[in-house]
Symmetry: C2
Subunit: 248 residues, 2 copies
């Protein structure tokens, strides 16, 4: 068996998420269907570094899978890319050692979240940014984002009822800026792992702060209380991008 | 009757074009359906500055229409924008004199055409840029584009069999550049009027030149010969944007 690591990008709009599930279109299923054909009909299972939800996009999702023989990585990339549906792209493929695991090898992830605050919105971006047609102040969001950086218990920012026990994670970067060209607000988060819906809940809270309906100190309040009810609403998945994954 | 001028933007992906046609979804039909509701059930006809084809997008299409009474333009914009489908936006509305006509008043149009030359493409942009996965050189395209500027007979760059008799048009700007952030090639054309499929045929020809399969002088050859067969193929509509219309 030869193990391959691939960086993939996809438009999440028409998927119910990364992970295979019955009666719903998933990124995993589409790639495994294509690998099955490229592997002479023998099933291939792929493992992703993380699961993305319905509507969430990726520029730098990482997967690994095994094939019985060594193949030229660029030829394999081209074949897989060409035969996958149009909303999935295979950015690169490399051979890795047998013990590489996309999910369990230590890595940091960077997520980006785009908010279109235009009135009206940009119709071309309606599936690729979350529309927020209310007043927003940049500086309060930038201030509040600083409080997310560090090692914290993020229970207050994850969906209630999550089965993961340890909710302590480290965020190394939490930035809010405005893209000069598009005028969109760009939220960037890097860290060693994120809980279910954590990024979208952090963005939802920062938007409430930027809109003046929560104080800048609300981020600290949520972290200290571990109370999901004190955080803002979950921002919509269509603005979220899994941007990059870096392995140690 | 009071006449209104509106700037509209739309994502052309799910439309068969601007113009109303039987059994196909058009921008005109969707806006007229919404205006009918806002006008107490009395039909309203809209007139666009130009027709865009299936898949072609707009940031600055201009329309005009009449309503029996004067309304606050921003309230009308908001109502129309909110009730139109998600892939159409009403950017602005203003009251204009009764003799304003979006199509017949003298104006210049600016079109932009985006080409994603990445390998692989950006999946998020698959409906918003034309993918061209072959080598491209910027400078030959820039040189050739200069020959398009001026007043010429553009017969060689329009679809054969077009009913318009006078095919002389003036192009005031023809530029090719690379967007630093996306790496996309951006083709920009301004002029006092464009023939059917003219922009897409000009782009198709410039791409052949950039790919080294036609000489830089080909633009001149097509203009002088008025022979459509000497031009490149029609570039796909999904990369084309009606960017801006300026009235005199």
């Amino acid at each position: 068996m030869v193990r391959y690591k691939a960086i993939i990008s996809y438009d999440g709009t028409l998927f119910s998420g990364f992970q295979r599930q019955p009666d719903a279109r998933s990124i995993q299923e589409e790639i495994e269907k294509t690998l099955l054909r490229l592997n002479s009909g023998t099933p291939v299972v792929i493992h992703g570094a993380g699961r993305t939800d319905a509507g969430v996009h990726a520029y730098g999702q990482v997967i690994h899978f095994d094939l019985p023989q060594e193949r030229d990585p660029e030829k394999l990339r081209f074949g897989l890319d060409t035969q996958c549906p149009d909303d999935i792209d295979i950015v690169s493929i490399e051979l890795v050692s047998e013990d590489f695991h996309a999910r369990y090898n230590k890595h940091s992830k960077t997520y980006e979240f785009l908010v279109d605050a235009g009135r009206p919105k940009n119709p071309m971006m309606r599936n690729y940014a979350t529309h927020y047609p209310y007043p927003l102040s940049l500086v309060p969001m930038q201030e509040a984002a600083k409080d997310l950086v560090g090692t914290h218990d993020f229970t207050g920012f994850t969906a209630s009822g999550t089965s993961v026990e340890n909710k302590v994670r480290t965020i190394t970067q939490a930035r809010v800026s405005i893209d000069e060209k598009t005028g969109f607000y760009v939220f960037t988060f890097s860290g060693n792992g994120f809980l279910y819906k954590q990024v979208r809940n952090m963005v939802g809270t920062l938007l409430k702060i930027g809109n003046g309906r929560m104080p800048i100190s609300q981020v600290k309040t949520v972290l200290e209380s571990c109370d999901r009810k004190l955080a803002g609403p979950t921002a919509s998945g269509n603005g979220l991008y899994l941007k990059e994954i870096k392995y140690e």
